[in-house]
Amino acid sequence: MTLDELLGVGPYSLPRREKQALLVEHLNALTAHHAARCRPYRRILDAYGYRDKGLSWAAVEEMPYLPIGLFKEFALKSIPDGDVIKTLTSSGTTGQKVSRIFLDKETSRRQTRALSAIMQDFIGGKRLPMLIIDTPNVIKDRTLFSARGAGILGLSNFGRDHLYVLDDHMRLKVDDLKKFLLAHPDEPILLFGFTFMVWQHFYEELKATSADIDLTRGVLIHSGGWKKLTDKSVDNAAFKKALRAVCGITRIHNFYGMVEQIGSIYMEGDSGYFQTPVFSDIIIRDPYDWSVLPAGREGVIELVSILPLSYPGHALLTEDLGRVVGEDDSPDGRRGKYFEVLGRVPKAEIRGCSDTYAEEAAARGV
């Protein structure tokens, strides 16, 4: 099956055997594709001796993967500079290196189609009136997308009559929000925002102002990680409960994904876990020896995706920890592995006679 055919069969439709066979075929082809076009990638394959053995593997677990941090160190791309239509950067705090991901037209198209197949499965094929829980400032510079801006633009395609509900000072525009709801009285409403923004600038504002906002017909999609909320002891269950209490919203889906594999997002299904679509997969590895861990065991997350053509990001070792919960037997009928993310790999304690200045500055977050 080609990718386009695959997109046609539904993102959660294939059982393990069929899915793995497809992934093996596509990923082997992608490895050869990038080996031929991306010199740094080829150098790595050569150093590990993979090219001498022929670039063909029988199982996804055996295939080479790149540590995601490499995208911070090198401009890895498999296309000529002239074909780059977008450069995505990961969100990093000031002073930190960020990943740069180069997209051409075709990869961008594939990502959009993949994302749309996933979204359709969750919210249907119709564009819904959409509230974006952010300020329009975040997408103003369209040449260099931040992860936040890219996420918003990507998701905007699934809505219409968009309203950015925060002003330039990150204040909730309650009156505009009320008008918007009056103007769309009978339809489901799509809401999108970053997890922390939703909490800080939407939930907390609604709670503080006790504005009468009814979003029982809303579907909230959010992403971005829980770190800042964990600091406030808010987990997914508490998040859902609180939002429901403040505006009646019940359909809330978190998703996991990263700028290095945009399009391949992992939506939270009814099981409460992230669901892998047909064109991507998750493997959990033991950092002690990088062996594959069985379902239930916690380890480092590797993500594979058959979408990236313009950069060698089809198999990436992330810096996140997670565990696979099950496969093909999710209660909502969606097939594929489902998993949870358990935070970042903790920073290594650095000891040694290296630079005191740099490290202390880093420790202070300067």
């Binding site: 150093a47 020896d289 290594a348 040694g352 006679c353 200045y357 202390e360």
Partner: protein, 404 residues
Amino acid sequence: MEYKIIAPKGTDIDTLASRRVLPPFAEPVLAFVDAVSARILKDPRFKQYPELMAMAFWMRRGNIVKLKADFESKRGSRAWLGRGVVFHIAPANVDTIFVYSWFLSMLVGNINIVRVSSQADEQLDILLGVINEIARESTHTEVRDRFAIVRYEHNDEITGYFSSLCHTRVIWGGDETIRKIRAVALGPSATELVFADKFSFALVGARGFLDHDNKDRLIEQFYNDSYWFNQKACSSPRMVVWVGEESTVNDARGVFWSLLETLAEKKRLGFAPALAINKLIAECSVAIGAKDLVTIERHRTSLVNRVILQSAADINRELQCGGGLFYELRIDSLDRLADIVRDKDQTIVTCGINRADLADFVRTTRPAGVSRIVPFGEALTFSAVWDGYDLLREFCREVDITVR
């Protein structure tokens, strides 16, 4: 200006700086050093820190007496005195360095101000607690009056204040720190010792290694050299240079790394998932950046990572993720080592090569770098001669008396 004097309690910097130096190897100083050593060796809290135990061993009276004898034989009848106030800026992460630096300076009589890292560190706190306790005892007043351990976040004004007071400034801790601190003025006649970023490696005679009758012991020593500070001390080996023919080297390699990995699995010192990831990034970075093709040897575990280089030009001395990532190079004979050594190189730990050949190599090739060549197991052993400085001598000035 905010700095905190963390030892001894109640010290005043201006009074301290106005005191006179003690004579070299004065008894009150020897007694203090000995007391600190004895406390560390006895206190069970220190057992978990092998590098502190090694330090306490180094400062035993027996060893200090040797230092003294060596110092006196070099001095002869000349008049050597401590320089006055020495300001030490210690590295953030090797807690023991500040003690070595301070004690050596104190042994020749100086008054010392030591800036330790502002990062919280349990090991450092225990050590400072012990130093405070001992300094409080009435027998140690002369020492107590002549040192201050201070803590502050890097700040040019405070560094400038201590720099203006001192006669010698000592900067440990890397190129970037040195560049920043050097921008802060020293008094016109003050001297300065700096310890820049270094690179250290192992030099192994393949035949000599294979013929050695206690390879387990050798590997354990190499393991300690490499893994004690998670391979992040400046003298931790980050490369193995093999000397010998290709087939001999290949045999030796097989034995060497398999013994090392087995030992590393048993000890599992400092294993961290983040380090395992950083090593993958580092080895891929080397593969991308190298001029010649490199070979990444895959290991059973994440405890050992190896990148075999074809050319010395591909040694990336800046990349130091630590945790057991080794470059490897092979040379046919020892004289080829001259192509490898750079001025950044500090310690060579070696086995399977005899002393005469090494001395001959140093004499004939006169390498720009390398300040120590030591046997396996001694990479981290501190020496009063460090990075080419004879520290006891550097901490002294000479009064030239020519009156007959």
